[in-house]
Symmetry: D2
Subunit: 345 residues, 4 copies
């Protein structure tokens, strides 16, 4: 950490800053320039997180040098982590192919979609019953019955399942049914929920919040890791942008940018990022080309009757065509897609 | 709601769209233009929220006409609502002067700050123990003891208190101690928490999320109102912006823009919006000039030792100077500031 | 400037960085921390602008300490500058009241509007003939005749006039007719135009670009100042935002943020910032309360027939009501509004 | 175009709106709903561009149905356009491989870089002498000599050249030397420059502005097309974002989104989009996977001594490795890269 002092800082103030730094267990190294004096803080600056250094009189600015997270960093774990979701590997050259409807729907439809995406090459089935809906008047889900149905569909088709949790009181129940727990974008900084999920041993899919920087995302990852759960996969799903042409701004550069800072796998979700079926296939391929460890796609066999997010779902045949392209691209890039039993690789 | 059809839409598709609309209880009114055909949906389009109309084949776009919220709208309540926080009025010409430290601190410091802000003209005391911290290694609060202390300070100084809640399991406990419950920006779309808070009868202070549009904010308000709690105050506290000069982008136009859509009071929080003590006073005055129903300011008597957000706190004497200016501006604008007992108005 | 070295930097690389810094005329001060080594660059770092320091092997990051501009800075001119537009003062406690139609319209309408805004308290008349239009099919102006007409209107009503220039080949001509030359938001980084305008001695009104940071704005100001023209006024007119509720995001905090860095006057333009007549008055007052040195408002007597930007114009009677409120607020804040001859102050 | 009327609109106002629409040569189709009355405007709504319809009393909102551009639209030209730059095809399955230094540098360096990128597979050489520099104190170029040198290098290596123009007075001169003229992001809405460039018959490379929506970009394209120049290529180079991790936010979804609206080719520039050499290769591949018609990369043999933008340049060997990957990806996608004479395809 570097502390930049104000141009009119007094000697008394400088002394006070140094004392404060030393009282916090760090060493201070003073450097007087022509225009400004700076203090280099020597030691692990992460111990100072939350300390109001810029509020000390005479301080103009504080420049962190180390990333604010530890467990999520490459320093802590220099090789890519591989997360295992009931046998399906994600990261370190292994791609997750997550597909399914947005909401948990009726049993018949769930089986049809699961069979279709599995045949197309998906290796994890998704569906969420407990979903954030911006309107209190929109469909709000069916509770534990939804989880049971999802589990049943996963078991019958031999697919691991991922589902979202919003309420810390439901984490335990969700962990019983699901193979992977999803934290949605709107809850990326719901620290209560992050802690709760960190205490399970289930793999977690953590989506980037709509106004979260890459460092914010990694700090939320740190919350989960700090509870002892290292089975964590990140997900880029679009951030808030100014162009209404797409639902969100798909930040594909976040994929290599995360990899430059962290060992954690990161997948992409072009369904939420773009909100437009015609843009999903090119954006899915872009994500894989940029190095993503998997692709999360919403698929529905009758989007106009979907209980949630129908307008952004691919039809099963569209998904099948895309999955073929992803497989070819993965091969070109030397990546593998863990196959489910009973599906030809 | 207006449904714009694709330029190559077929007659069969048009019939199907009309049938779908009618099956949802609305009437459809077809209008064929030179370039495009549109369908006007006649009836309360809010019943269609969550229906995937744009996923119907042949549909190019859906244009809502009514605002997506009801209870929060001016149609439901054409005059400004006035919220009453233990005797202090907010809205309809009454300004809230909310001040206090970011976190709940030690008892002595709390009393000193409360006495200072009360003397300066504050009429509600703030302080949060259960706070979102982006780092899992930062100070996380002291739990129920923090609430007890806050209550004690409020009682001794005769000030209503407002404090944040993050965990739905703590809502009941917080409601016992606090006069007003705050939902922070990061939880604006934590719908579980919104529903829980909506079920108490305590006044709520709902902060705008960092990537929330004004309509998103009003939809979150609708969640709380829909549970039967109409004691609701909104708060503009800055949204995500691209300029690092300020911590967030202070969207002061949101104040009159909310008032053009809703009867709910809205206050401003220039502390979080700017993150810079030197910008807080001018931005506070700007908020009041724009029509805000109150000002929320963080005040600390030793910012460099604050447990949270010290760098953006005003000193008590800075707050006193600002409060004087706010009072003069309020008078010019014909607004009133509810006085606490024992403080000269 | 502080140079942060990579964690795996070699001694050879460190030597090379130091040599490079010294060859550029600066001194280097090495400081080895526990985790990272940094180099403090001693000397005027602005000489290094444009030098690709971060491309030197071993360099992780470069942290500037001084603002990148000189002439625009408070260090160069510690007291607020006052710009004089044909007798009307802007800055240092003097407010500009700029008003008029967006485009130059027909003579009769121009005279009616000029008379109305003058009577209401405006002290500078605006109108632009050479305007950026996003559509090549929209009205493009009438050329020199427009300037002549504007001059005539200004002369007859005794009002200084401000008008926009887009084409460097027209700067000389515009400077002949106008009292103040406006550079629009879309041209804030049209460096060719900035240099050309800097070479006239006419006062300049420089609007902030839609994606410009405050430092970007001040760097564009520096271009004009560097040509020897110090008669410069900045203008906040809204930046690109994600909420379509308003046309742009009105960054009112930019007013005090500019004043913390620069001596240049800054006014606000709530017409372009919000694009909504109902939001213009509260946002104009907010700007003045935040410390703006003036207010720029579009006024038209028949907005539905305006040649440009009609939907965001105030009617003359709306402007008169607003001007009265601004005058009262200015008085409260101890600001003055230079009066035109023949108008009671 | 759909005109949504206010809920309290009067019959007189409705009559007036209809008369206004008819006086502008369109037909009006009235539709009364339960909550709101709307008017469908029948005819080519683009004739109404710039008409202040929302300023007509009683009008709440105006919803365009047609895209605001014509010549750039798929309706005008339903198949992908192919632009020919001195023999190199761009669009319709042909990829441009544009590479070279940011600025025009000394002759020896230019020849070395040109030879290297040609050998690696580049088919157009870039270099700009007349460049926007945010600082007036940074290197500003060498004028016509720079153009001569660039032409010489292009001729000697048998490569077409592209270079930027900023000043409308220099367009003619640049057109004499260059094979393709670039309009930079900061000038995307410099309409004077767009018109001037539209009047040459040279191919144009138009970069997206940092706060430009996709429709804004296509409207700027329309300016050039409307002057009779149809040799136009667009370029996504990152827009303003809130995360400082990358220089800009790389909007890769803009590639398929443009293709859904327009026949014009669009390439990507990951150098400016990310500003980080380590992110350029993955983001270049992402662009091609998303359907881009080419890749624009800055290459320098000694980035730390580059006259401009050194920190974001790839080394020639890094470019060669990337070009190989792009070629393999292009083959997988069925795209072709026009080869220069003397280079094995």
């Amino acid at each position: 950490m570097i502390i930049v002092l104000k141009s009119n800082v007094t000697e008394d103030q400088i002394r006070h800053v140094i004392e404060r730094i030393e009282s916090l267990g760090m060493k201070a190294h003073l450097s007087r320039g022509t225009y400004r004096t700076i203090i280099g803080v020597i030691g692990d600056e992460r111990k100072l997180q939350g300390e109001p250094i810029t509020a000390i009189p005479g301080v103009a600015d504080v420049v962190p040098i180390l990333p604010p997270f530890k467990l999520a960093s490459l320093e802590a774990h220099p090789t890519p982590s591989i997360v295992n979701v009931a046998g399906i590997k994600i990261g370190g050259g292994h791609l997750a192919m997550i597909a399914g409807p947005c909401a948990v729907e009726d049993a018949e439809r769930m089986h049809i979609i699961a069979a279709a995406v599995k045949a197309a090459g998906a290796n994890i089935f998704r569906g969420s019953d407990n979903k954030p809906r911006t309107s209190p008047y929109a469909y709000q889900g069916m509770g534990e019955d939804g989880l049971k149905l999802l589990r049943e569909v996963g078991d019958q088709h031999g697919m691991p399942i991922v589902t979202e949790v919003m309420d810390p009181r439901r984490v335990e129940m969700v962990a019983e049914y699901a193979d992977m727990i999803q934290i949605g974008a709107r809850n990326m900084q719901n620290f209560t929920l992050l802690s709760e999920v960190g205490q399970t041993k289930k793999p977690v899919l953590l989506k980037r919040g709509m106004s979260a920087t890459i460092k914010d995302l990694l700090m939320s990852a740190e919350y989960i890791l700090a509870q002892g759960n290292s089975q964590l996969v990140l997900c880029e799903r679009g951030v808030k942008g100014f162009d209404t042409e797409t639902r969100n701004m798909y930040d594909v550069a976040a994929v290599p940018a995360v990899k430059a800072l962290s060992h954690l796998p990161i997948i992409v979700d072009p369904s939420h990022a773009t909100g437009r079926p015609d843009l999903i296939p090119p954006c899915a391929l872009a994500g894989v080309a940029a190095g993503a460890d998997g692709v999360h796609i919403e698929v529905h066999n009758c989007p106009e009757k979907a209980l949630s997010d129908g307008p952004q779902a691919l039809l099963p045949e569209q998904y099948a065509a895309l999955a073929k392209q992803i497989a070819a691209l993965a091969k070109l890039l030397g990546k593998e897609i863990s196959a489910l039993e009973g599906v030809p690789a």
